[in-house]
Symmetry: C2
Subunit: 526 residues, 2 copies
């Protein structure tokens, strides 16, 4: 399914009408001011394509090339705050010059060859759900940008049920992939919030993580092998459950965000489809207590598929949206187990025993029902808030268990200070979203009133305050969103100068003309 | 503990005296011919060091530098068949020119700077247990080779019990590391066969796997972050439980076998020390049946720490060595669970129920007792066999479950054909050594009579036959031994020409003068 160009997802789906006024009322109670809702943006006039007719013809000899206004528009924006802001303002910073629709890996290879020869930049595009500017059509030093839409590369090529290995083309979207696996009693179990729109290739290119990672792992665990077309040729990593054959190239390509090549195919590790899914909610007096309890659960060997531990602001927002009284609530905890009918109840019993010691409210299975739908609906709320003059951004990081509370406190304080300095009251919602043996991720949602005419400056101030603080406090620059354009300036802090030198060397070797996705992930030179 | 120079491990430990004659008798029953045991080799005369006095002084200003005969000898050989063969023949192909003993990461950095300036190759050395020539003092284009012994970099720097994270210097050996962790109720759970001698840095540099990987994971799962000194400077990867910040440099350095730099420090992920360990043995009618049963166990979600499934030849060798009648035995299966007192018995019950359907002998816990000691003693048997004129080599690979039996059959046949062609009867022992959700590893032990005067040619023929076959059949070049010198020629088949191009670019960026461990892992140019 194609997303609407100016906001999230399905044009016919909206944030539930009965929940919206409650959520708005809660945010107002925090001092956040709204405007009246604006009508959805109208498509702006686009500049003409820069692609020469000669080059268009050369590319069109490879596969279908579109230069229509509508398709150029929908391929020019991702789903970052800055992307959506530019949609609402009707001021697109960049517009792609054409869209290619390859149907086979060899067409991708030819496209890259033609583009390199003609000085055209390549922007890979799966579901277009990047929240960091990952699909923005930056030309770099090239005269035009060609977006390569991979959604027609969507075949399931081979299913090995004995091993749970499935060879798939990269352009397949979440629901199509899961439907194909279900026919074989399998699941990938990868459920990012963008699941309905994003593609396997996009998940690989960004090292994505889904909410059920506790059972199924992150994308890097779910990919056994992959095929990437680079301008220097094809890299096809060996199919092996594990190996010790030098540096692992798979991990260079995972997360490469289209800078080294285009993922065209992968062998994914599917799990047996779960026989049962069981959720449960708990309410604890405070977020720090709940984080510590969560740590104990994971270190003690209880690993739910999904774990979410919300801070007080988010807990109250969740409860308010459901029409529940929330003024005393501390921290809402959601667990979900997926697996065999024999094991899931055992594990749930262990989890309940662990969580219900002391001052804890066991909210039962009821409190967890419907949470996944809410999870997929949350981005539609953003559109409602954007329409009402709000600044809405999310960011996420991860650190060790022992550093989690410090990181949380520091980032929250930095954000609140940034809101104060900007003169607009704001709120910082946060939850632990993925738990590992050695640590966990924190997912922040930032809300405040937009400063008309100063939106970009406002964003810069808030984003910089949060990012510098989280890096200072030992958090990683991104846990699962990736880098794109928005995080790029901090990549050297994440990897160090020698690390960046290594990335540039790789880029030089695999993409000597620098056509691949310019302006993303890391700076090409100093 | 330092290993003896001409063979495996502790000079005072031998393969158990009561088992040796039984094992020899079994091998004789397969048609393998022995000589009388030779006395252990005497240290050969070494060529003088090539290191100039000026350069020795420049290096000695950094840290202790040794050029004595004994220390040069023990640092010139690893534990590959070719290494030990050269020890028995008294003909060392290469001798290191000096040994450096840095005590701090900054000393390693200075050593690399001085070596690069003076044209000296660097050979990192941990426990020296490489079975593939990984520590061979190859000079490459340089005039001398300096072995850098990292065993004095052995401090535990920081323990974060809450997160199970431990910062350690890389030169620490297995037993010292586990002893330090045990003080905090933790374990790394990494038990390669070289455990008593090899070091954390060596495990990282080779992407090592230990027998308990089912519970604890491989080295790549156990390292959260690492610090590597490259000639271009330090790379220190972020401490994060997981991240999506571009290509993952950690996975470039893991397995880099000293070609890009020297691992000086790591943050490792420790587990709670197991409360209980429980083993069990089963006997199945045939190896294919046992492999399939093992697949069903893992796919069904039962994950022992250790799984070993032996082919018939190995099963009979194991039983013979214990003095048991073995003529009808098909496949011996060993399972071991490690973990909490609550979970281990539950999992063992599940495993027993799974394994004991049909024609299976449950040998009980007794059959598993002492297996770990035998595992650590097996390399001492190799010394006994080498002393008696045998060719003894091991090799290992991995593939998907659906391809496992085909790969096994093909490699076994290729080896038997190579023995036939060489005119010496031989035996191919094999076991599944590590099981993953999507596949498993196969570990082969090859035994035949050495062809005097033609040993190298004999090895080439056998090694080439096995390796070409396993690559043809979709196996990986190495599951946990690494590449070193012995596998290097096949690296391009494993990674493809574009993959090798990427590795060379990395090498050029991080080690511009090419001083790091020449001749290992991959060819530097065509």
């Amino acid at each position: 399914m194609r997303s609407k160009w100016w906001g999230w997802g399905d044009p016919d789906t909206r944030y539930p009408e009965q929940m919206l006024p409650r959520t708005l009322a809660y945010l107002e109670s925090l001092g956040i001011r709204f405007t009246e809702p604006r009508d959805e943006p109208q498509p702006p006039a686009l500049p003409p394509t820069a692609l020469t007719e000669t080059d268009r013809e050369a590319l069109a000899a490879v596969c279908e090339i579109g230069t229509g206004e509508e398709e150029r528009l929908v391929h020019s924006l991702g789903k970052s705050y800055l992307d959506l802001l530019s949609a609402w303002k009707g001021e697109l910073e960049r517009v792609t010059d054409a869209v290619a629709y390859p149907r086979a890996a060899r067409e991708v290879a030819t496209l890259l060859r033609v583009a390199a020869a003609h000085g055209v930049a390549i922007v890979p595009f799966g579901g277009g759900t990047s929240v960091l500017g990952g699909v923005s059509p930056v030309r770099g030093v090239h005269y035009a940008a060609l977006t390569v839409d991979l959604r027609r590369l969507n075949r399931v090529l081979e299913v090995d049920e004995d091993s749970g290995l499935v060879r798939v083309e990269s352009g397949i979207a979440g629901p199509d992939l899961e439907a194909a696996l279900a026919d074989h009693g399998l699941t990938l179990g990868h459920y990012p919030q963008s699941f309905h729109f994003s593609t396997l290739g996009g998940w690989i290119a960004t090292r994505s993580a889904g909410h059920a990672s506790g059972t199924y792992g992150r994308m890097e665990n779910l990919v056994q092998a992959l095929t990437v077309i680079t301008p220097a040729g094809e890299v096809k990593t060996t199919e092996a459950p594990a190996r010790s054959t030098g540096p692992e190239l798979k991990h260079l390509l995972l997360g490469s965000e289209g800078r080294l090549g285009i993922v065209v195919e992968a062998v994914i590790r599917a799990h047996p489809a779960p026989e049962v899914t069981a959720g449960r909610g708990f309410l604890l007096p405070s977020f720090p207590q709940a984080l510590d309890r969560c740590r104990g659960m994971i270190r003690g060997g209880i690993r739910p598929a999904t774990v979410r531990v919300s801070n007080t602001e988010e807990t109250r927002a969740l409860m308010a949206s459901r029409g529940l009284k929330s003024q005393d609530a501390g921290s809402f905890v959601l667990l979900e187990f997926r697996g065999s009918a024999e094991r899931v109840p055992e594990e749930m019993d262990r989890a309940i025993a662990h969580w219900t010691e002391g001052r804890v409210w066991d909210l039962g299975g009821e409190a967890a029902s419907g949470w996944e739908e809410e999870y997929y609906r949350a981005p539609y709320l953003r559109d409602e808030l954007l329409a009402r003059g709000l600044f809405v951004e999310t960011l996420e990081t991860a650190t060790s268990w022992s550093n989690l509370e410090t990181l949380y406190g520091g980032v929250k304080e930095a954000l609140e200070e940034a809101f104060r300095a900007g003169g607009t009251p704001g709120a910082v919602l946060c939850h632990l979203s993925h738990a590992y043996r050695d640590g966990a991720s924190l997912y922040f949602t930032l809300l405040t009133t937009r400063t008309p005419g100063e939106e970009r400056t406002q964003w810069e101030a808030v984003k910089t305050a949060a990012t510098e603080t989280l890096l200072d406090l030992g958090g990683t620059l991104s846990h699962h969103h990736g880098i794109g354009m928005d995080h790029r300036r901090w990549m050297e802090r994440e990897h160090g100068p020698v690390g960046i030198r290594a990335l540039r060397a790789l880029k030089g070797a695999l993409d000597p003309k620098g056509i691949m996705n310019p302006g993303k992930a890391w700076e090409d030179s100093i």
